[in-house]
Symmetry: C2
């Protein structure tokens, strides 16, 4: 498997991980309790239909049950979509999340890559027609929304719009940005959501999508039963109802994003505006992402070297917003690095 993502911390113990964009808040007490008493859930086959969870999400979002599909993380859904829909051509902006391209390649789709403009926005005039457009919304690794008006994208000549909203829960007033409100009228939309970022469940894998019931029916034929494990199901159900956790998270991101950006700017690094919980950073002259990553790892800090994102290079790193204690360490370590050279 040819990829490097954030969170590759094998062999690096006790490191502070700024490289994978997962919520750093402690697990709420009721989640901890629920988890600890769930051992018998390991033994039982999970509900292949995720019925309870689908009920909860359906009523929260006001989307019909038949328009919701859970799977083993939202990345599993990307592969499932490619496998079932088999688009002949796909539109991928760059830089963006690398799995769109990897999955499309595996399924032999013709890949049309479109470079984002210098503000990392979709150059609308350059859009070609394609069976499927991938839109990371907000975009990973740039952190921004790639289009000014969500409605505008629907005029573009694509059969399906795969809108990956993995990071939208971190966005302030996300309902103004999400494509969910457009879904009722626009059945070409396939909207991906995950429980592995805002709800920090990257290790247990669970995500879902919202799509037309005909699409869901197609996808289900290719989906192995029991693809969502039982622990993920019960934790996700409880997490959705955790209002306090959500509020605390948004407050943390709001405050700490400012703190980090200020610190980075004082060091002469450029932070790109971010709608979500991570920041794309352009290093100042004389620094390379590989070198900065290497130096920080020595201090127990892991960041994402962005040089392998197609459309970026060794001037870029990505950092996830963490707690003040961690963020302070990062800025401190970067300051030290800058003063040395």
């Amino acid at each position: 498997m040819d990829f490097e993502h954030g969170g590759c911390i094998r062999g690096i113990d006790g490191v502070i991980d700024f490289s994978s964009n997962v919520n750093p808040l402690p697990f709420p007490e009721n989640i901890k309790r629920l988890f600890k008493r769930s051992i018998e859930t390991l033994r039982k086959y999970p509900d292949p239909f995720c019925s309870d969870l689908t009920d909860v999400v359906s009523s929260r979002l006001g989307i019909d049950r038949e328009e919701i599909l859970f799977d083993n993380g939202s990345v599993a859904l990307i592969y499932l979509i490619l496998c079932a829909i088999k688009p002949e051509s796909v539109l991928i902006f760059e830089p963006t999340f690398s799995e769109y391209e990897r999955a499309s390649k595996a399924h032999k789709a013709k890949i049309k890559k479109i470079r984002l403009d210098e503000r990392f926005m979709v150059p609308i005039s350059k859009i070609e027609s394609a069976d499927m457009m991938f839109l990371c919304h907000p975009n990973n690794p740039t952190g921004n929304f790639l289009i000014e008006q969500r409605e505008s994208i629907l005029d573009l000549p694509c059969k399906y719009f795969l809108i990956d909203e993995a990071f939208i829960d971190f966005v302030e007033h996300e309902e103004r940005f999400s494509f969910l409100p457009l879904f009722k009228k626009e059945k070409r939309l396939i909207i991906l959501r995950t429980f592995t970022k805002f709800f920090p469940l990257a290790g247990i894998r669970i995500g879902y999508l919202v799509a037309d019931r005909e699409i869901i029916r197609m996808l289900k034929d290719f989906k192995p039963p029991w693809s969502v494990n039982g622990i993920a199901i019960i934790l996700a159900k409880t997490f959705i109802e955790e209002e306090t956790f959500a509020e605390k998270t948004k407050a943390l991101i709001r405050k700490e994003k400012v703190y980090l950006m200020k610190g980075l700017s004082e060091l002469g690094f450029i932070s790109y505006p971010s709608a979500t919980n991570f920041i794309l950073v352009k290093l100042k002259e004389g620094y390379s992402s590989k070198e900065v990553k290497g130096e920080l790892v020595k201090k127990g800090i892991l960041i994402r070297d962005c040089s392998n994102f197609s459309g970026l290079d060794e001037r870029f790193i990505r950092i996830c917003v963490r707690t003040r204690k961690d963020n302070k360490k990062l800025i401190g370590a970067l300051r030290e690095l800058c003063s040395k050279s």
Copy 2:
């Protein structure tokens, strides 16, 4: 999704589950402890390569690391194989595990079904050529090995042999039956193994396959990264090393299978010889699987009605071997049922 499997216990609380063929022994203490202290594993991306686990299995089985692939349960691997290899035609015996057919249908393979003979053995003379043969070894739901000599199957005209050894860990002297010893010389073999039966991890999903490295390379292209969750990885690794649990399990199955078969025979039901941890039962005249299932559910016992297995009918049920206390309840409940009618 159109299927009924064992273990569908939604809405039936506190039932004794004889329908899903999962080890009923309590979790070993070290597994319990490991699980309870693993909450931070939920937050971290799992190792996409399952490196540690692959090391352990590689050295245990004497198979190269590059010939082993882990995924989200062995059923996920069945879908992955169909997706990557895209066999034009497949050979499926009946009755057998229904997911071979479901996955093959989804991937548009031509399905050649071959009815097992009256002893539930492969009628070798009827074998046609096909791209892929599915062999459930031992077979679910019949519990037996479908062929006298494992070697004999390799003379048959198939490009790939998918050998599903999901239940082989329960077999006495399994090394005499497993296809693993043949693998070094025979690269058409794809051998599936799981951690959700013998190691009771059905709820957390983990399985692997052994195949030629070229096949593994193909499969990896279509496999989403992080498809195996972190909790499954650490539990599986510890379970493999649990020698006592394995011994206890085999001793239990040996003893309790005899107990159940004796009880069933006394009631006039026919048990088919089983090499593994479940028993296919032919009801005596005047009883139907649906009725027996319904009556037992009222007593808090769930069995597998086998009428929806293609090749079986309403005269068949399947029961999993559980602990003496549970098995006694089952036989008692069946006795009551028989005396009533």
